[in-house]
């Protein structure tokens, strides 16, 4: 949590291996990552990290199913298995009847649920969500938060960036950031 410009997203990008720290170390499973080659960092992202963005970042020319298949496609998974796994995840997020819809044909909440399905289809260890409800109305936001909490209860580590206090209060551990520094780290 924290006001805009406090460094929440930057921290998230560092954790997600999208950015390299100028100083310090980012360890994933105890392994320092900042000096790894680009290829290796891409492989780590592919295997261990799922991203959820405020703007969804769905690809408009692809169907919901194809959007969810995308990380598996990049990982070289065979088409039949890819389709099966993507369909199963979409069913879990409650979109079994929307497989062939384009993003433009879905509501905001549904689009973000497709994006969440895409983030978890690789069964990552870490789910990183950057203001996932920022572009949604209340109803859509509730759909997404319920889904994320369900996933978290299912055993996946979730790091969520938000400036929505109400949403933040629901997390078991809250890190508050101000001016690029951790100001508070509260559990329970």
């Amino acid at each position: 949590m924290g006001p805009s410009g406090s460094g929440k997203s930057t921290l998230l990008h560092l954790v997600g291996l999208l950015d390299r720290p100028d100083r310090g170390s980012v360890r994933l499973g105890g392994v320092a990552t900042e000096h790894l080659a680009e290829e290796e960092r891409a492989a780590l992202r592919r295997r261990h990290i799922g991203f959820i963005f405020q703007a969804f970042h769905l690809i408009g020319r692809l169907s919901a199913l194809e959007n969810v298949e995308l990380p598996l496609l990049l990982a070289g998974v065979a088409p039949a298995e890819r389709r099966r796994r993507a369909a199963a995840v979409l069913e879990r997020v409650g979109l079994a009847d929307r497989l062939d819809h384009r993003p433009a044909e879905l509501s905001g909440g549904q689009q973000q649920r497709v994006a969440i399905a895409r983030a978890v289809v690789t069964e990552p260890d870490l789910l990183l969500a950057d203001e996932p409800t920022g572009n949604l109305d209340r109803a859509g936001g509730r759909e997404v938060v319920d889904l994320l909490e369900a996933l978290n209860r299912g055993g996946i580590t979730l790091i969520l960036v938000t400036h929505d206090l109400e949403l933040g209060e629901r997390a078991p551990r809250r890190i508050r950031m101000v001016d690029g520094a951790v100001a508070e780290d509260v559990r329970g």
Partner: protein, 398 residues
Amino acid sequence: MRAFDAARWVARALAAERTRTALTILGFAIGVAAVALLGALGEGLRRFVLAEFTQFGSHLVAVVPGRSETFGVGALLPTTRPLRLADAATLERLPGVAAVVPVVMGNARVRAGDRARYTTVAGVGPGAREAWRLRVAAGTFLPAGDLARAPPVAVLGDTLKRELFPRRNPLGAVVRVGAWRFRVVGVLAPKGVFLGTDLDDAVYLPAAWALAIFDRPGLMEIDVLYNPASSSERVAEWVRRQLVARHGMEDFTVITQDQMLATLDRILRILQYAGAALGGISLLVGAVGVATILTIAVADRTAEVGLLRALGASRAQVGALFLGEAAALGLAGGLAGLGAVAAVQLLVRLALPELPLGLRPDFAAVALLVSGAVGLVAGVRPALAAAALDPVAALRAE
């Protein structure tokens, strides 16, 4: 990422921007078609000209007066002795020689009764029929015998016959050329037009008479037809030795048809390459089109690049996908261009069957490969730009 998935990704990305893709392919196709058509036209022209030059027979060696490497500037030198009928006569006895044609050409007025016409006068010998592949339609050709004592007879070309003797049998009639009278003994079958000259608008006389008509000291050329079993070099050497023995020096030039054709072929090939180079300019413009459209695509899809990177694509993978789009545009353009060429060829074959325009399949395959390669090269810069995008900044776009 699997190759098939990458290809499908590329196809989907291009299909999503239908108009843009179609226009880019069109531009590239025009370039490919220009290269292929101009190249094919050059090739066709080359074959056409070579065929024109060999229609007189392909086993010829020519002797011209004067010493020079190619054509007779040396003919003007005072020390040059003219080629005489007797020279031609001795060549007939050389081994490997099938026929010898003494040649004296000029223009003169030919009159038959009340009709007259300025026409080509070809002073030749009986060997011209075989050496130049002339066909006699009626009567006979010039009679065999001593070249210097040939009788005053004439053989008419097809056009001249029709002009001087419309609806009349000319055999046995008399034509006047200058101050001399010749009896018509034969008429030739049509031979056609060679490089703008009507070969049928001519009268063929014995060379001895032509020398008298034009008051020339010697022959303009001696054509030697050799047996296919012999070779042009061997015959040329025999001819050279024989004439050196007679003249005491090499004051003449022996030209083999192979040399002539090789020179001609070189010139025509340069023309062909020049045509292809002109087409290459349009292909270059097409390639610039591919580069432009991909640069725009990378800018449009910056967020997509960021997403791909976040989902675990490496820089190399992102670059390769955009390169794939460039190569696909090139290949599609090449295919469309060749299709257009095939259509043009079909139309040409229907409308102008005599215009030579040959597209070879191996050339088409090479053209496709080159198209893909040119597209690929055009895509290098935008692909590198896409690969170099910082994923965090890219995700913020949109």
